[in-house]
């Protein structure tokens, strides 16, 4: 085995430039795979975390809207839900995209002040949390830092100016938003009698499924599910992101596959005579097959490792996905994505070699020595 591997290695070094270019092509595929996968996974994990940061064990929303947590359902559904056994807390919450001061596309949360301590864990950095439905706002410390706001300043949300009464910290994405009383949010976002989502906690964690079934029976026109299933429920948004990723991998993978098939096939045709000599000297079909497959696998490994190393540089340096003009999400490093990238690179190379291998193994030595 090592001898054949050694021969494969020598063959690779023999056509160094061509093989370096092939490995670079594979590396580019691996880079695309790792970066796109990392972005997708980061977004999925971030959305899941964001939704779990909203508090509650059950989420109820309007799944038919494009971005469900930005859709709306009747506020009075909370009354029906409160009647269900094992329900502990019911909180209507508004999640609205708005212009905050000079910043477009910022998320504003509308919460009943009494629900805030129930659904969120926070510490106040300045001032106090809102406790009434008066037109006041509290700002997450990261966003406050960015806007340079302090208690006593005003903040303008979609043209409505509110005094800032507190700066809070949760160590979640909510540190980047503004929280206003639920009724104020209804007014700002023209959602009188409506709510974006309803969050529910239960008295017994074992009864979550029971409560979900009851809500579904009671309110058939809404989507009800566990908070941890939120990512999967974020259709079509998350699905679109995932499918775009798959499409990118497939296009890059197919391009790589044909590129490598071309390189390997050309290489085999150029070496037809040499393969004939090896067979005339007693090489079995399996020996020739191993040699070519090893060559391809080595190329795949080389390209895969190169791609992993190059991808690691921007990720370790803190590659960011811009969310708005002022906020960005740092892309996480997922070790399994690197492993998959390497395996895919090797698999594409080996698959691409199958046709030329088949041709080489079938050739009779006298044919290639005669015509090769």
């Amino acid at each position: 085995m090592f001898e054949i591997l050694n021969m494969a290695l020598q063959n690779i070094t023999r056509r160094a430039l061509r093989n370096a270019l092939t490995a670079t092509g594979l590396a580019i595929f691996v880079i695309i795979f790792i970066l796109v996968s990392s972005v997708t996974l980061t977004m999925q994990k971030s959305v899941t975390k964001s939704l779990s940061d909203l508090g509650g064990e059950i989420i109820i929303w309007n799944e038919s809207s494009l971005v469900p947590f930005l859709g709306n359902i009747p506020e009075n559904y909370t009354n029906s839900i409160e009647q269900i056994a094992y329900v502990k807390n019911v909180s209507p919450q508004i999640t609205g995209i708005s212009r905050v001061d000079t910043e477009d596309l910022r998320l504003t949360l509308g919460l009943n002040p009494s629900d805030i301590p129930v659904f969120y864990t926070y510490t106040m950095i300045e001032g106090a949390m809102i406790t009434t439905n008066e037109s006041k706002a509290v700002i997450g410390y990261l966003f406050a830092d960015f806007l340079k706001k302090h208690v006593g300043d005003n903040v303008t949300i979609d043209g409505q100016t509110l005094p800032v009464v507190g700066i809070y910290r949760t160590d979640t994405w909510i540190d980047n938003v503004v929280i206003v009383p639920f009724e104020v949010a209804q007014n700002i976002f023209n959602l009188a009698g409506r709510t974006s989502v309803i969050m529910v906690t239960v008295t017994d964690p074992n009864k979550i499924d029971f409560v979900i079934d009851e809500v579904r029976e009671e309110l058939p026109d809404v989507s009800v599910f566990k908070s941890q299933e939120a990512t999967a429920r974020l259709t079509p948004l998350m699905n679109s992101i995932t499918w775009v990723s798959y499409a990118l991998f497939t296009i890059a993978g197919v391009a790589c596959f044909f590129g490598i098939t071309n390189v390997v096939t050309t290489g085999i045709f150029e070496r037809t005579r040499e393969i004939g000599i090896l067979k005339a000297l007693g090489a079995k079909g399996i020996d020739v097959m191993k040699m070519i497959i090893y060559e391809s696998a080595l190329l795949g490994t080389l390209g895969g490792i190169l791609g992993c190393l190059v991808s690691l540089i921007p990720l370790l340096q803190g590659l960011l996905i811009p969310i708005t003009s002022t906020t960005a999400m740092r892309i996480s490093v997922f070790s399994e994505v690197f492993l998959y990238g390497l395996v895919l690179s090797i698999a594409i190379s080996v698959l691409a070699a199958l046709y030329p291998v088949w041709k080489a193994v079938r050739a009779r030595p006298n044919e290639v020595l005669r015509f090769g």
Partner: protein, 226 residues
């Protein structure tokens, strides 16, 4: 040792059938040195390919050491080529990227000979053919005569019972031709291996113990020397 019985080979070139060999009968004993002489296109290479398990006949049989190789699987034929037969080609057919030593090691790699013994044997064989000082040279760094010597050393690597040589001097000058033929004579004498060579040159054929002439795919009666 080696026997061809009613061996025929016809090439199909589109709709035309070209008979290359017709009813060849040949018997070669252990230690024989036979030359098959004939002009270009007489079927010498085709015959050698059939005897050496590089090709399959249209009809007839080839027996090597009492084994009929005609209907063998490709895997078993590989074994025959690896262990029973040594080949020397007119154009040497050395692997260009490999050193002389590595080229001689090749058949032993396929025979799964351990590295140490393989290297020692390859060095010894190259020494036998007078190339002890050229072990690490690649084919492109060797003269035509030297390349053919490497090819001969390679053919002997697995101690084959039969060594087939297709116009081994066809591409060499007079001096190299003489040297190579002397070497073949000596190897045949020392190793007691069976040598079959093809040539178009009657002067080369005279080095052999027996000469069979091939004309238009048919073998003429054998002439014996010495």
């Amino acid at each position: 040792m080696l026997e061809a019985i009613n061996l025929s080979k016809t090439y199909e070139m589109g709709k035309i059938s070209v008979p290359a060999l017709q009813n060849i009968n040949l018997r070669v004993e252990k230690g024989d040195f036979i030359a098959i002489q004939g002009p270009s296109g007489s079927g010498k290479t085709t015959l050698l390919n059939l005897l050496g398990a590089l090709d399959t006949p249209t009809s007839g049989e080839v027996w090597i050491e009492n084994v009929n190789i005609t209907r063998m699987s490709e895997k078993n034929l590989s074994d025959i080529r690896c262990r029973r037969i040594g080949f020397v080609f007119q154009f040497y057919n050395l692997v260009p990227k490999m050193s002389a030593l590595r080229n001689v090691e090749l058949p032993m790699i396929f025979a799964k000979i351990p590295e140490k013994s393989r290297k020692e044997k390859a060095e010894k064989l190259l020494e036998t053919v007078g190339l002890a000082h050229r072990l690490q040279h690649k084919p492109s760094e060797l003269s035509a005569g030297e390349q053919q010597r490497v090819a001969m050393a390679r053919a002997l690597a697995n101690d084959p019972a039969i060594v087939l040589m297709d116009e081994p001097t066809g591409n060499l000058d007079r001096e190299n031709t003489k040297n190579i033929m002397k070497l073949i004579e000596e190897l045949n004498k020392v190793h007691k291996q069976t040598f079959i060579l093809t040539t178009h040159n009657p002067a080369i054929a005279k080095f052999a113990h027996k000469v069979s002439s091939l004309r238009d795919g048919r073998l003429l009666p054998t002439t014996k020397f010495g």
